[in-house]
Structures are given as structure tokens and as C-alpha cells.
């Protein structure tokens, strides 16, 4: 390694450590901080973000990167870790430099305030109070996209921050296909008239016991508590401060077991990704998941492909019955399996089943593109939302609280983020199919409570690489294919065909 590369890595490590420090402050804020600490914490985070941005785009960092590029990464074929590091560092720097600091600061401030406004607006079902802020955010996002630059569609500039290389031109036909398949499958299920199968999941299950059960399950799956934590928060999330300190959080609802049960498996899937990235990448831009879509694929894989599979419950159901005898002693494993896979159109995205989930995403994606392209006004957005809910899911939206105000993303500036949820659903099946192809014993192992083979395949083929390969290349290397809905469509048809006897 040349001197310039050594110097660059030292600089990047400082940047990495600043980012990790922010993550610790963010975690504490949401998990343990007393209410009184909020204002000071915002200032602390702002200082760290400012120093990170200033240091990231400074002349010194630019010179260090240029010198390291001039020196070359060795190997010559461009496939070395150092070559990837230079590629990713250059991508990050070029993007960061294009955005004026004033815009960064304004976006941070507006989104921070807007999020507070949104909390209140949602609570009070008052879209009008949020609308001016959404207007500002859409405007800032347009400015941001113009600063970054893009090909063809403005949406691509935003999407690229979350999913490198993905474009609206790819998403449009993909989502059209998902939409038709979901509407069709949901319609067939509705025609069977078997609503209410999930009623048994509302039976009381003591929260403390839910937590004990969840801890056992994630530990069985491979979550190493000497390298991570599981705490309680209002909104579950996963964060990490190193590959050896990955923290997930959960909320427990006495009358809704699946929330925590599958929530833990979901966050655990995110955690495995961060825990398994090559140790040598720590402190470099290669540390961290490569995209939100790939990240979500890991959470959805464990939540749905594993956690909502019949085999998983063949293993765990007796223990669940012992833990909650009052709730489940009269419920067969078959009934339980049907309950956790019940399909019904619903108002709230985060509670949606596997079949209808993508319809919630597509609705948001369509509205985002229209808002950005000026084809939909902020004032007309609630009506557009409600019309799409009716068209795609067949349900009336009784209030904006349960409609356009339900998600935090837009208030926080997360426009362009939603599609990665559906990409995650698709990629989860692609990765799972590839894993089973390589290790056909995986489904039997799961039914025996053994998860080591799947864990190892994911680590080997997905996790360890961090940001080394762009998402598309990672998917190709891991599965032999580019992004495709084939395994996903087959999975949904097979699983729900069987669950509902279609």
C-alpha cells in the first residue's frame, strides 16, 4: 500500500469514526435519553454532521483522494479491495462536493423541523399544517437533484442515494408487473372469503415473555449478544457502531404478538448484514450495507422467507405454546401458520401482509415521481392517495392520519426511499433461492431450528462485501442473475396458493 493510500485511509477513518459517533448519539437519543436532553442532542448531532461534511469535502480530503488515485490501488485489474475503496470514496466525494453546504444545512434544518410538525399533524389528522412543509421539502429535493445532476428523470437523482444505479425507467415496468400480480392474487384470496384468520394473534401475550422468546429466537438464528444489543423503543430500528457493536430495538404489544416476533427477525436480518461485513473494511467507505434495497432484502428474508415459513414454526411452535399456553393451547400449528400469513388489504403499510405490501410502495412511488415532476400538487396529494388506495387495495381511507400522514419518510426528506422496500422483497427471494440452490438442506435445517447454513451463505455471498460491489454486481455474483421478479412471483404464488388453497 502506497503512502498516499495510507494517508487517505487515516483521513477516511476519522470520517468513519465521526459518523459512528453520530450513530451512538442517535441510538441513545431514541433508546435512553431523558426528554430534557433533546435540544442539546440536536446541537451535538448538528456539530458532528457539519464537521463530517466539512472534513469530507475539504481540500485536504480531495488532495488525499487524488494522490491515492494517482498512486493506483495495485493489482491492476481494479478488483482489489483498495480499488473498490477508491471507487466508492470517489463516488461519495463527487456527490458531496456538488451539494452546496448551505443546501445541506437548509435540508437538515427544514427536515428536522418538518418531522416535528408531521408528528403533530398526524396526531391531529391535520394535513393542512403539514402541507407547506412538504411543499418546501419537495422544492429542496428538486434543488438537490439539480445540484447532483441526473439522466432523464429527476427521480433518479434521489433514488441513487439509496440504491446506486437504480432508475425510474427500471422501476416503472417492474412495479407495473408487481401491481398486477398483487391485485390479482389479493383478489383471488378475497374471493375465498376467509377473513379474520389472524384474530387469534390478538390474544394477550405478556410483553416480558415476548421479549424473552424473541431474544432466544434471534440468538438461535445467530445474533451474537456479545457483539450487539436488543432494547426497547417506540419505533424499532437497527443501527451499528462497528461490525462488533450492532444494536436492534423493538416494541412489544401485549395484544399483537406478530409485531415483535417478526419485527425482531426483521431487524436481526439488518443486523446480520452489518455484523458480517469484512473486519478489514471497518473505518473505510466499504463498511456498511451497499444499498437500502439489499439491506431490506436481508431483513425481509429472515422475517418472511424464514420467520413466516411453515418449517420455522414446526420447530418453534411447541415452545411458543409453552410460553403462552393461555393464548395458543387450543390453536394448531396449521392454524397459527395460516394466521401469520393472513392476507387482507389494509390501510397501514407497516402492518401489510406479504401480498399487498408492494401496493403501498407503488402508490408512494407514483406520487413521489408526480410531485417531483410537477404533475401533482401538494394540495391535491391526499385525494390522489385516497384514489390510489381505492384503486389498488379496494379500500376507503377514513382519514389522512391513516392515509397520507402515516409514514415519517417524507417529513424527514426521504423521498426516493420507498422503492427500496419492494426491491428488498424481490431480492430477498432471489438470495434465498440462490442459497437453497447451493445448500438444498436449508429448508430442512430451518425446520430443525438450524440456521447456520443459511447464515454462512449470506455472509459469504452478500454480507462480507459491504460496499465493494455496486448492488447490481453483488446480486449477479451472489445469484448468477440480475434483478428479476421470477423467484418472487413464484414464491408468492406457491406460498399463498397453498395457504389459501387457491
Amino acid at each position: 500500500m502506497g503512502n498516499a493510500m495510507v494517508a487517505l485511509k487515516a483521513r477516511l477513518a476519522d470520517l468513519y469514526n465521526l459518523g459512528m459517533a453520530s450513530a451512538v448519539l442517535g441510538w441513545d437519543q431514541r433508546v435512553f435519553m431523558p426528554a430534557g436532553g433533546a435540544e442539546s442532542r440536536a446541537r451535538q448531532l448538528a456539530t458532528l454532521a457539519k464537521l463530517h461534511h466539512e472534513m469530507g469535502v475539504s481540500r485536504e480530503t480531495q488532495d488525499l483522494l487524488a494522490a491515492a488515485e494517482a498512486e493506483g490501488a495495485g493489482g491492476g485489474d481494479g478488483a482489489s479491495d483498495d480499488a473498490a475503496l477508491l471507487r466508492v470514496a470517489r463516488r461519495d466525494l463527487d456527490k458531496a462536493i456538488k451539494v452546496p453546504t448551505s443546501l445541506v444545512v437548509e435540508m437538515t434544518e427544514v427536515c428536522s423541523l418538518a418531522e416535528e410538525i408531521w408528528v403533530k399533524a398526524r396526531a391531529e389528522n391535520d394535513y393542512a399544517s403539514f402541507a407547506p412543509w412538504l411543499e418546501r421539502i419537495v422544492g429542496l429535493k428538486r434543488q438537490y437533484a439539480a445540484a447532483i445532476g441526473y439522466q432523464k428523470r429527476i427521480y433518479n437523482a434521489l433514488l441513487d442515494d439509496f440504491e446506486e444505479g437504480m432508475t425510474a425507467d427500471v422501476l416503472d415496468p417492474l412495479f407495473e408487473e408487481l401491481k398486477q400480480a398483487a391485485v390479482e392474487l389479493a383478489g383471488a384470496i378475497r374471493a375465498k372469503g376467509q377473513r379474520g384468520r389472524d384474530k387469534i394473534l390478538k390474544r394477550a401475550c405478556e410483553e416480558a415473555k415476548q421479549e424473552v422468546f424473541s431474544r432466544k429466537v434471534v440468538a438461535d438464528c445467530g445474533f451474537d449478544f456479545s457483539r450487539g444489543r436488543l432494547d426497547r423503543t417506540v419505533h424499532p430500528f437497527c443501527t451499528n457502531f462497528s461490525p462488533n457493536d450492532v444494536r436492534i430495538t423493538m416494541r412489544y404489544d401485549k395484544n399483537w404478538l406478530p409485531g415483535a416476533l417478526f419485527g425482531c427477525l426483521h431487524e436481526m436480518g439488518h443486523a446480520f448484514y452489518e455484523m458480517n461485513i469484512k473486519a478489514e473494511y471497518e473505518g473505510t467507505p466499504l463498511a456498511g450495507g451497499v444499498s437500502l434495497g439489499v439491506h431490506e432484502s436481508q431483513s425481509r428474508l429472515w422475517e418472511n422467507m424464514v420467520g413466516r415459513s411453515r418449517g420455522f414454526w414446526e420447530h418453534y411452535y411447541p415452545e411458543l405454546q409453552r410460553t403462552f399456553p393461555r393464548a395458543f393451547k387450543d390453536v394448531s400449528v396449521d392454524k397459527f401458520y395460516q394466521a401469520i400469513n393472513a392476507v387482507a388489504p389494509s390501510l397501514i403499510r407497516v402492518e401489510a401482509d406479504e401480498v399487498t405490501y408492494n401496493l403501498h410502495i407503488i402508490l408512494r412511488y407514483e406520487m413521489e415521481t408526480q410531485l417531483l415532476e410537477g404533475k401533482l400538487s401538494v394540495a391535491d396529494a391526499p385525494a390522489a392517495w385516497n384514489a390510489k388506495m381505492k384503486a389498488y387495495l379496494g379500500i376507503e381511507v377514513p382519514s389522512d392520519r391513516e392515509g397520507i400522514l402515516q409514514d415519517v419518510h417524507w417529513s424527514g426528506g426521504g423521498i426516493g426511499y420507498f422503492p427500496t422496500y419492494s426491491l428488498g422483497n424481490i431480492l430477498a427471494t432471489q438470495f434465498f433461492e440462490a442459497a437453497v440452490r447451493a445448500k438444498p438442506e436449508i429448508p430442512t435445517d430451518i425446520a430443525g431450528g438450524k440456521f447456520g447454513g443459511l447464515f454462512a451463505w449470506l455472509k459469504e455471498n452478500v454480507h462480507q462485501y459491504g460496499r465493494k460491489y455496486p448492488p447490481a454486481e453483488l446480486v449477479k455474483r451472489a445469484t448468477g442473475e440480475t434483478l428479476t421478479t421470477r423467484p418472487y412471483a413464484a414464491y408468492l404464488k406457491r406460498k399463498f396458493g397453498e395457504v389459501y388453497g387457491l
Copy 2:
């Protein structure tokens, strides 16, 4: 406020926020971090410390301070907050600039490693393995003192970091007086032959109930849980990330109730200081306690003057008996009061009673000066320790583990720190006496479980000022006197004369 002052304050706020970020990371490390996170956390803290030091001594900071000084702080009498801010910022900067970055880095690294070595050496009772590190630390502290500069005694350079304006020439006669008084009082008590009065405190008290009781007591005293937390750690401490986010930690020992009971009051005293500093000082160098001695006075005041007073237990003892009926139903409040004020020479400083505590400090102070001045070698230090223990406390030291290896301070570079514990004991009585002079109802209030008057006096006369006044000036303003042992000597004589019927 002039433009230069505005710019300086923005800069100082960034420095403050970086420091607070480090504090959050430090708290998390000791309270919740999984073991796996240790190495990364050390790197994160090192980056923050480096950036803090670099930014603190940078040309830009120097220029901003010089410009603000040239602009003047307004008011003209030098008594304004801004004038104090300039004085303190100048003091911090001038000190920081004198220390070469290489020395800062070497001290950080050596002390970080030495602390690990010390943990092992103490566990294995192996002073020889720690000696070379102590040698290095003493050497580095000499270099540091030379870089900082000092009048007359090398010790003064180190002491000034913890207690501005204090010198060895002041401490020498003060400590001689304390030593004689303590030896005399302890001797008189020993002559009464009443050992073992504290045996009842070893009765089993469930840890969870100790915590509940402690939480109630600190809340009664004024600890606001919406602006702070109380968690569990191996080593209790107090830290803060703003005046509105102050956190204390505690350990609970089933068979030693006083540990947590008085430990909580102790840390709470530290916490009150930080919670009550003027809100406007946040983000400036005026935020924070002015010295370790004044800080310790606050913890000792609540722990001893309040917590080990008869009145306090007249109020709380019935509740303690209800909480731990098995342990205390046959113990009168008098016996309990005698037990928590039992005096007996002991090996371990942190377990020492009020009478003999200072002897532990004086021993360390004498050894520190001798080590720094080359009058005592590191190799001879254990023998010197043991001889002083015999001379001052009349007890044999059975092992270095219970002798010279018992405290963490030296391994962490904290030479010059110990005297502030005794200064805290003295100042606690000075402040308490002044408070009672101003509000004679305080003792009666305490016996009625009311602490608001004392809390308010401390806030008004000590806490709110943060670092505005140097320690000596703060003491003069609050008590009308300079540092004096008069109230302290009288307090010990009166209290223990009565407890032991001397």
C-alpha cells in the same frame, strides 16, 4: 455582543459539542456497550479527542479568541459573563497550546494501555508488572509539567488542572492539620473499643429494592428524571451531556446496603451541580463544574452532611424498615445511625469512614509529590505505602492489591487528582454551614424530608456559576470566607464526639 464574540462562541460551541459527544460515547461504553464494541469505541474516542485538540489549538481558534479579546467583553468591570468566558477560554487555550500534540497522544495511549495493565496487576496482586508503566506515567507527567510550566513545585502544574489556583504550599500545612486531627480523633474512638457497630449493614437487602429506594430518595432530594438517568455499572460515576441530561450510575451489593445508599446520594450531589449551571452557559467554556474540589464538595455534602445525618434518618428510617423488614425490624434508628457512622481504620479508601478518609488522601498526596520530585522511586513505592498505612492508620497492608494497587487514578494519569477529595470534604462543610447560616430551617427541613431550601441555596450560591469564578473566588462569594478547616474540624468533632460519646 460584537461580531468577534459571536464567531468565537460558535467555535467554542462546536468544541463543547465534540466534548459532549465523547461523553455520550464514554457513558455508553461503561453502561451498555457489548464487549465486542471496545476496540472500535477506543478508535472513535481517539478521533473525537484528536479533532477536539486540533480544533481547540488551531490558528483559527486562536485568532477568534484574540479578536474577541480585542473587541472587549463589554461592561468594562470584567465581571460580566462574557468577560469570564474570555478569561476561561484564554486559560484553556494557553494551557492546551503549551502541550505538544505528540505528548497528548503519547499520554492518551500510555494511560489507556496502563489502565488495562493495572486491572490485571490488581487482580493478580502483581505490582512488578505495573511498575514500568507507573515509571512511564511519572516521566510523562514530568514532561507535561515542564511544558505547562509552574511556580516552585512541580506538583503545582498537575494540581492546577484539577483545582485552579491550588498549590502544594497551601496543601502541605492544611494536610498536616487534617492528619493530626484525624489520627487524634480516630485514636479516641478506637480507645472506646466499640468496633463492629456496622455489622447490621451487612444483612441481606434485595438489590432491586435498594434501587427502588435509592430512586425515591434522589427524586425526593430534587433529582429530575426527565433531565437525567440512574443506571447500573461496575464503577459508579456521574456524567452529563447538557445541564438537562445528567446521568448517574450505581452498583448494588446485596450484603452492603450503604454502598448504593450513600453512593447514590454522592453521585446525585455531582449531578445537581451540573444540572443547575446557568442554561446560558451551555456550549461555552463556562459550562461545567469549576474544579474537582468544588465538585466533590457537592457530592460529599449530600452523601455525608445530609445522608449520614440523624435528621435524614428520622425521616427515612421507617420507610427503610418497611422496605427491608427482615434486615432492620429489630434495629432502632439510633443503632442504624451509629452503624452508618461507624469509624474504623480500613485498607480501602472508597470504603473509609468520614474520620479516616483524609488519611488515605494525604498518604497518596505525599507519595505523588515524592515520586514527581524524585525523592521516592517507583520500586520503593509499595514499601512507602505500607509504612504510611501503618503510621497514619495503624494497620498492616496484607497485599499490594489492597494497598498501592487499589486505585485506578495513577494508571489513568490522574496524578494531582487525589487532594481534591479532601478539599471536597472541607468545602462541603463550609458550604453547608453557610447554607444553614442563611436558612436556619435547613436541618429541620431535612428531618422532615424537605430538601428544597438547601437545593435552592446551593444552586443560587454555587452551582449556577459554573466556571465563571475561580474556585477561591466562588468559595469567598458563597461562604464569605476563604478555604478554611474550621467548620470541617468542628463538624467532625461534634458529630463523632456525639456518635461515640467522647
